[in-house]
Each structure stands twice: as structure tokens, then as C-alpha cells.
């Protein structure tokens, strides 16, 4: 098409990638062919969480996208391809390979590089920077041969880098030129409290130190010589003393750059060349470089709107550098004018040495203009709202940072103006939420999907929920969470009613709390609750009518009304004898066999009257039911582990069998899949499971709430280096808590995302036992474990239950509409056409 324009993006870091994503969202690809050049060998990844590379995450976990994703979207991505020149006259860029690419519009997202202070000796081996994944690989290589590491720079990035060194097991030091840590964000007292906390974590802090020379050390590879005459030996020096914009390309092309670097941009993110935009850390706006990702995203937003004409008026108006983060595990928050530099500003502060917290408010004319929080940043969100929106402070502002007990006056969502930012990661305002509600969103989940609010760091989850609830209530919209028309209760409420009132049958539940006959929503839900709580046989006459057909026949119904059978194969370990039994049963009954994703064998094509004789043979051979038909624990997948594998560090098969046998048959709001890997290579794919266990040198790492399927979610690392006992205890508690509190058909992943307080709260419940239900959860789980019986074994022993499997109540004829044809040496259901050919018109005529 002739009017298509060429758009080139130089740089595929976090901001460059955000620009591309926003471009796709704004339908920019309808007008532009987008070409992206990245200098690094891999597509955009999460630099903010770089230190997690040393605490269990790999490059894939940190990836924000893949080259395939770009390709699928129709974006031409060139990785490992630095652009070396911009020809602004010809409107072309030249890559290192010498190829030229024409552009109509060009976006510079070249980012920044780590600033290395001009210290003599800074170029030698062992002096490194902390910026890219390649840098991290180099750091790891050097750390292997050393014992001590020093970070130069006690700012935000420096402390992140210190965290990385600590993860590598090095004795970690931080050297800062200023007299305090984080001088940009904290006042002196705040910096001091942070220093104390960090030193308590075994990181040595040296402030007020200017490094003059790095030379060879005696006990370590290097020696840092300070201006005050002191020295510190180390095996590794990591420079993290700030960033400098990558502006060389612009400089060479004659585009305006600042005196101290940075591509000058206007409010529209345009450079001095109107065809060229600059965004992120390479851009200089109002003489400022923004070293945080938030402002970079905001610039990307403006540039996209300029290019797509969706909002030519869009402008970048600076950014709030307020920040909340965890450094080496210490909570730190900084808002606005933390140093009280504004004339007339006054401060309130509280220091709590036993709890190691420091809080400071900076106030001007009854409004909050700055704040510092160290050791406890729980008040950050509320304070930020006060500062951002110029809300009137309460009469005694110090009550906002008063010790817990009095509690600060609550700031209701009603007090917030529509411009108030609720989610700063995705820049969602209260107004944006109201707009989404007007646009048809009816609950928190919809809002999250539509606005992305609370899907970044998650820090705003509580505020978002109260805002949404408040707005819904204001519209008189009652959020109907009733499970169905027969019960005015949620699943969670029904669970508690069943347990507290000791209700054991649906009739009783309906009589006490419901109405009508029930339906296919509430009946299986009640059946699942009864099974989780009382664990009676699902085919007891009072329970059977509640079950979905899969549970009724203890098998999985297929499209033609036949069933498939999955015997349990704990951890996927199976003897030759048992394989032969499965094979001969399949052969005898003419079943189609397929290996499942859960390391078992599925046998298809059994009519319901064939199920009991088939199971008779399987149970005779020592098999148990696999519960593939239930909303229950399915399988525990495992790799072969240390028994055979050269790399394995623990017996993953043994642990997987132990776990599978413990939880088999446990019924839950949705299916549960587990896996155990014997080492960090993770061959069992445990990080895609509800419960994932990965062996380490020191025990087991526990991952939770992942899943594959329609909407895959990586599991979260929940606890590390657990011994067997703690591993099982945590799984017991977590699963029972899930069963207690999840909604109907809610996988653990969605449950966690909707859990107020998220992963941190889950840890408090499960690990810290903060709400004191740990033992109760364990004993409830133990009761289920103790009452386990193979459902098929007990069914076969009960003639009354077996009656249900007859083909007809008045005949033993099989269903003559079940017909198979052969394909690849096995059966498959015949199509309607094939049935017609086979049987003439007789069978189907009746059904027409």
C-alpha cells in the first residue's frame, strides 16, 4: 500500500518494548511498518528485577517478550544489530553490518549505560558494571573465583547490585561517595536507618568514601584506595554509580543534545529533528534525565499518541519520582520533596529503633509535599495519594505516621479526585476506572483486564479493590456473587456453612439455605465441598445425583458418550508388569491408548457398562483410580532425578510419589496439577503447575499457583530450601486454604491474583501463620488423607453402585450409536457420515 509509512525504533529495552506494545494496542500497525533494532542479543527483558537472575530466575523468566512474538505481530525485529549512524537527510539508518533502512519516523529508545567514575585502574579485570544480562553473566563468572565483592554506589541501583552480590554468596560491601545511602531519595536520618538495617543483613556500608585508585591487592585480587588514606581489598568491583544517556547516535547526526548528555525532547517527545522522537533514559526533558521505567513508559505513551494521531495534544509533563521498593529485603519509600528543600516546608518524623522503622512527612500549608519511609512502607499508597492530589491533611498530620494502634485516619476512595492515580505502574487513574465501569466492566476482574490496573507490582491491590467496590456501590450496582439462583451464597460461604453446621447432604443444604431443586452449577459445587470436607464416597446414593457425569461414572466422557480411563501412575513411575496389564486391557476391550501430559496412559472408547470389568482387571493388577475425571488432584509429574540423572541433586521421583500418594483424591474447586524436578534444569516443568517443587543443594524450592492451559501463568517462588517436613506442611496449608477460600472453578492462579494481599499475604497465612489457622488447615488435610479410599475399588465392592453402569435399565444391549473406525492402527469415533454409511439410515433416522 502506497500510504504505509516506515517506522524505525532503535533500542529494544523496557521502554522501546513498551513503545512497540502501545503502538500495537493503538492500532499503529495499520499505518506503519515497524522495524526494531536491538543492540543486545535478546529481546526486551525486565531490567528492574535483574538481581533475581541470581535468586532462581533465568533469562527466560525475565523476558518481556520473544522474537517470535514480534514476528507474529508482523514487526521486523533485528537483534544483535546496533545502529551506527542516522542519516537525517536521506532519512535512513545504517546498521553495524552496513545495511541501510529508510524511515518516515524514527524513535530513539537507546537507553543509558552505567556511569563509571574516572578512577585510575577502573579498566582492569574484575571491574564490572551492572546493567545487562551479559554483565550479570560476567559478574557470576568472577564471583566464582572470589569471596568478596564491592559495589561502588549506594543509590537505588547500587543496593540492587549489592543484593545480586549477596545472592552469589560474596561478602558484600557498598561504597558511597555521599555521607549517606540513597542520597537522592532519602534524608540523612532515613539513610541512616536504611544503613543500620542493611548492615544487620551482613552488608558492610562505607559512606563518605571517594575511591582514587584501584590496584592489585594482597589477599584479594584488587585493592581500592580511598581519598582518606584507607583501603579495601576485594575480588570484584561493581560500578553502579548512576547512568548516562546513550546519545552518541543523535550527537553524530547533529540532533540537539544536552550539555551533560541526553537527547533534547519537547513535551511531545520530539527531538530537534521533527521526524525523530526520543523516549526513556536517553531523552532529556526540561534538563532532566529520568532513570526510572515509569516516566519512560509515559514518554512511550505520548510518542505513540503523536504518531497515531489519536491524541496530538498528548504531552509529557514530567514525572513524579516517588518510589516504593524493597532493597535487600528492606522496605523503602520516597515521595516528592523528601529533603524538605521547598521554602517554608516543615517536617514531622518518627523513629522507632526496636522495629527499625523511620517515617518522615514534609508538609507545606496543610498539604503533604514529601515523605520518607524506611523499614515499613505500608503507608506509602495513602501518603502518595495525599501528595499527588493535594488533599488536605488531617488536623494532626503526625497521626498518619503514628505507631499502629491508633491507626491513621482512613482515606476513603471518595476523598480521591478522578485524576488520582490508583495504579502507577500502568498509570490508571480513578477516572480511568470509572470510565471502564461505564464501558461495561462489572467487577474487579474485568477492571484488571481492561485497565491493567494492579497487574504490575500489585502494590495498589487494596486501594483498587476499595475504589471499585465503592464505585459499584455508588451506582447501586450490587455485585451478585451468588453461586446460582438456588443459593444466595458464594462458594466460600457455602463451604463454611457446610463445615460449621456439619451439613452432609445436598437435601439438607438446600432445605436450610437454598430453594428449588438445585441445578448443574450448585450441585457439583456442593458435591465438591462435601468431598473436600467429609470425603465420603462420591457415589453414595445421596451424593451421586450431584456429580457431573465424569464423577458419576468415575471416568472422562468423550464426544460420543463413551469414556476414557486413566489409572494412577504416581510420578509417572511404572513397572513393566503394569505396562503389560494396561496394554492387554486396552487390547482386550479394543481401546484407543494415548500418553497424557501428566505422565500417564489414557484408555479411550469404553462404554459405561465396560467400565466395571475393565477396572476389575486394573485393580487386580494393583492400579488405583487416577481421578482424571474429578476437580481434584491429578498427577505429580517428575523428572527421573538424582537416582539416574547425572545432574540431579535430589530424588525427585521419590518425593513426587510421596506427594501424589498424600494428596491423591483430594477434591478442590478446580483441578490441581503438581510436579517435582530434581534440579534447577527443571525437566518436570514444575513452574507451570499449581504446586511445583524443585530440588536445590539445600532442600526444596516451592513454587505455587502456576498453570498451563488457556491462560498460562508462571508459578511464583513461594519458599526456598525447605526440608521435607516443611515442604509438606506448607503444601498442606496452602491447598486447604485454597479449598476454603477459592471460588467455584477457580484455578490457583486466578485465586492468587484475586487474593487480597497477594503472594505476600499467602506467605503470612502459610509460613508465618499470621492468622493462626495453620494447625487447623493441617488437621483438616490430614483428615482427608486418612480417609482416602480408591473410589473404583469401593465401587466394585458395592452391587448397588454397579447398577448405575448398566447400559439400559431394561436391556443389556450396548448403545448402537457408538461406532468406531480404524485410524493409524487404533480406533476413533466414527463421524456422522461414516455412521450413516455403516448402518444405513436406520440408526439415525429415529434421532432426526
Amino acid at each position: 500500500m502506497s500510504n504505509r509509512q516506515q517506522l524505525i525504533v532503535i533500542g529494544n529495552g523496557m521502554v522501546g518494548h513498551a513503545f512497540v506494545e502501545k503502538m500495537i494496542e493503538a492500532d499503529g500497525l495499520a499505518r506503519f511498518d515497524v522495524t526494531v533494532f536491538g543492540e543486545e542479543p535478546r529481546a526486551a527483558y525486565d531490567r528492574v528485577h535483574l538481581s533475581e537472575y541470581f535468586s532462581g530466575k533465568n533469562a527466560e523468566d525475565l523476558a518481556l517478550t520473544t522474537a517470535e512474538n514480534y514476528r507474529e505481530q508482523g514487526i521486523d525485529l533485528h537483534l544483535d544489530t546496533p545502529v551506527v549512524e542516522i542519516d537525517t537527510d536521506a532519512r535512513e539508518v545504517v546498521t553495524r553490518n552496513g545495511t541501510r533502512h529508510g524511515y518516515d519516523r524514527l524513535v530513539l529508545a537507546t537507553g543509558s549505560y552505567a556511569f563509571v567514575p574516572p578512577i585510575e585502574g577502573r579498566d582492569q579485570d574484575g571491574c564490572l558494571v551492572y546493567r545487562t544480562l551479559e554483565d550479570l553473566d560476567a559478574i557470576r563468572d568472577h564471583a566464582e573465583h572470589g569471596r568478596r565483592g564491592v559495589v561502588v554506589g549506594g543509590g537505588l541501583l547500587g543496593l540492587e547490585a549489592a543484593n545480586a552480590l549477596k545472592h552469589l554468596g560474596l561478602e558484600t560491601h557498598v561504597v558511597e561517595f555521599a555521607p549517606q545511602l540513597m542520597p537522592a531519595q532519602l534524608d540523612l536520618a532515613g539513610g541512616d536507618m536504611l544503613r543500620r538495617q542493611i548492615e544487620a543483613l551482613d552488608v558492610r556500608v562505607h559512606t563518605g568514601k571517594a575511591t582514587q585508585l584501584i590496584d592489585a591487592g594482597e589477599n584479594h585480587r584488587l585493592r581500592m584506595n580511598f581519598a582518606d588514606g584507607e583501603a579495601l581489598e576485594t575480588d570484584l568491583v561493581l560500578f553502579s554509580a548512576g547512568i548516562r544517556p546513550h546519545d552518541e547516535l543523535a550527537r553524530k547526526a547533529g540532533i540537539a543534545v544536552g550539555e551533560r548528555g541526553g537527547v533534547v525532547i519537547d513535551d511531545q517527545c520530539r527531538t530537534s529533528d521533527p521526524a525523530i522522537y526520543a523516549i526513556g533514559e536517553c531523552a532529556l526533558w526540561n534538563r532532566q534525565i529520568f532513570g526510572l521505567v515509569g516516566p519512560g513508559y509515559a514518554m512511550a505513551d505520548v510518542a505513540v499518541k503523536q504518531l497515531t494521531e489519536a491524541g496530538e495534544t498528548a504531552a509529557f509533563t514530567g514525572a513524579d519520582m516517588s518510589t516504593k521498593l524493597k532493597l535487600l529485603g528492606v522496605e523503602v519509600g520516597s515521595i516528592g520533596d523528601a529533603h524538605a528543600r521547598t521554602p517554608g516546608a516543615q517536617a514531622y518524623a518518627t523513629i522507632n529503633e526496636p522495629d527499625a522503622t523511620y517515617k518522615r512527612l514534609v508538609v507545606l500549608d496543610g498539604k503533604l509535599i514529601g515523605a520518607v519511609l524506611v523499614g515499613d512502607s505500608a503507608d506509602y499508597d495513602i501518603l502518595l495519594q495525599y501528595a499527588r492530589n493535594g488533599l488536605d491533611l488531617p488536623e494532626h498530620p503526625e497521626s498518619l505516621i503514628a505507631p499502629a494502634g491508633d491507626g491513621p485516619p482512613a482515606l476513603g476512595p471518595d476523598a480521591l479526585p478522578e485524576t488520582a492515580t490508583i495504579c502507577s505502574c500502568h498509570n490508571v487513574t480513578k477516572g480511568g476506572i470509572i470510565e471502564a465501569l461505564d464501558g461495561g466492566c462489572a467487577n474487579l476482574g474485568d477492571i484488571k483486564g481492561a485497565t491493567k490496573a494492579s497487574t504490575g507490582c500489585g502494590g495498589c491491590a487494596a486501594l483498587l479493590k476499595s475504589t471499585v467496590d465503592h464505585e459499584l456501590a455508588k451506582r447501586g450496582m450490587e455485585v451478585n456473587t451468588d453461586i446460582c439462583a438456588h443459593f444466595s451464597h458464594t462458594r466460600i460461604e457455602l463451604y463454611h456453612l457446610v463445615r460449621v453446621e456439619g451439613i452432609r447432604t445436598f437435601a439438607e443444604l438446600l432445605e436450610r439455605h437454598g430453594r428449588g431443586l438445585g441445578c448443574d452449577i450448585c450441585k457439583p459445587t456442593a458435591a465438591s465441598i462435601f468431598a473436600s470436607v467429609w470425603n465420603e464416597h462420591v457415589l453414595e446414593p445421596v451424593h451421586q445425583p450431584l456429580q457431573d457425569t465424569n464423577d458419576t461414572y468415575l471416568a472422562n466422557m468423550q464426544k460420543d458418550g463413551t469414556y476414557s480411563i486413566v489409572p494412577r501412575v504416581p510420578a509417572g513411575e511404572i513397572t513393566a508388569e503394569k505396562l503389560i496389564v494396561i496394554g492387554s486391557v486396552a487390547k482386550k476391550y479394543g481401546l484407543y491408548t494415548k500418553i497424557t501430559g501428566g505422565q500417564r496412559i489414557d484408555l479411550f472408547g469404553a462404554r459405561k457398562e465396560q467400565l466395571p470389568p475393565i477396572w476389575e482387571e486394573l485393580i487386580e493388577a494393583g492400579f488405583e483410580t487416577g481421578h482424571a475425571y474429578g476437580k481434584s488432584v491429578r498427577t505429580v509429574k517428575s523428572c527421573v532425578g538424582s537416582t539416574w540423572c547425572r545432574y540431579g541433586v535430589k530424588d525427585s521421583v521419590g518425593m513426587a510419589i510421596h506427594i501424589e500418594n498424600r494428596y491423591k483424591g483430594l477434591r478442590s474447586p478446580h483441578k490441581l496439577k503438581f510436579a517435582v524436578s530434581g534440579c534447577t534444569r527443571e525437566c518436570a516443568e514444575a513452574q507451570s503447575k499449581d504446586i511445583g517443587v524443585i530440588a536445590t543443594e539445600n532442600g526444596w524450592n516451592l513454587y505455587v499457583c502456576g498453570n498451563g492451559g488457556m491462560k498460562p501463568r508462571h508459578a511464583d517462588l513461594f519458599a526456598t530450601d525447605l526440608d521435607d517436613e516443611h515442604l509438606i506442611r506448607y503444601i498442606d496449608r496452602l491447598l486447604m486454604f485454597y479449598i476454603k477460600t477459592a471460588d467455584r472453578l477457580q484455578r490457583t492462579s486466578v485465586w492468587l491474583e484475586n487474593l487480597e494481599g497477594g503472594l505476600e499475604y499467602l506467605r503470612e497465612v502459610v509460613i508465618d501463620d499470621r492468622i493462626g489457622i495453620g494447625e487447623e488447615l493441617e488437621s483438616q488435610m490430614q483428615a482427608v488423607v486418612d480417609s482416602y479410599r480408591c473410589e473404583w475399588k469401593s465401587t466394585l465392592a458395592d452391587p448397588a453402585k454397579l447398577k448405575r453402569f448398566r447400559s439400559f435399565v431394561n436391556s443389556d444391549q450396548p448403545d448402537d450409536n457408538v461406532l468406531f473406525v480404524e485410524e493409524r492402527g487404533q480406533i476413533r469415533p466414527a463421524t456422522a457420515e461414516e455412521k450413516r454409511q455403516r448402518a444405513g439410515t436406520e440408526t439415525l433416522a429415529e434421532e432426526a
Binding site: 439462583a485 438445585g518 448403545d815
Partner: protein, 118 residues
Amino acid sequence: MTVAERTESTWIDICALDELVPQSGVAALVGKRQVALFLIPHTEPSVYAIGNWDPLGQANVLSRGILGDLDGEPVVASPLNKQHYRLRDGQCLENSVSARSYPVRVVDGRVQLAQPEA
């Protein structure tokens, strides 16, 4: 009512009432036709008969669905794709198709079905 008007000779004996499963369904074979029989005790009527064939799922499965009511109307949910069929006439509530419907009665503890038309 049509059921009452039928003569004795057109009713076919299927099974004893206690062969039916309360709050659930069983399949019966009548000639070459498959019929789904449902029992909801203590209601009037308490026995229902519709075709076992799910016209949307294209399989003989309706006897294996979960019983319930939608707005007071007794229904069975197809175990294949969960559409609801009205027990009293087989009408699907989410689609214009319907399952067959059969007059059924209980006489002396026996379930009887009206002879299907040819």
C-alpha cells in the same frame, strides 16, 4: 390430558419404579429407541421421559445429565455441553432444538411408557 386418553394396550412396561435413581436419570431401550427416565420424588409429576439423544451433542447421553430447575422448570443439563432440556417436553432452553418427549406413567410400582408412534 393425552396421557389419560391413551388405551391400556399402547403402554409399554419398562421397569420397576425402584430401578430409577432418585434425583437422577437412567437410560431405557424401547425397540430401537433410547429413552432417558428421570425421577424427582415428592413432586408431581415425579417421573419424566425424554429421548436419550442429545441433538446438539449428537450422542445418547441425556440420561447422564444433572437434574435441576431453571426458574422452577425441571430440566436436565446435557453432560456434553451443558445445554438445558425441559423435562416436561424436551425443549432445549438455549437453542431451538428439542429432545423427543414421551408420555410416561407409574402403575402399581411399574414405570410405563406410551408406545412411541411409528
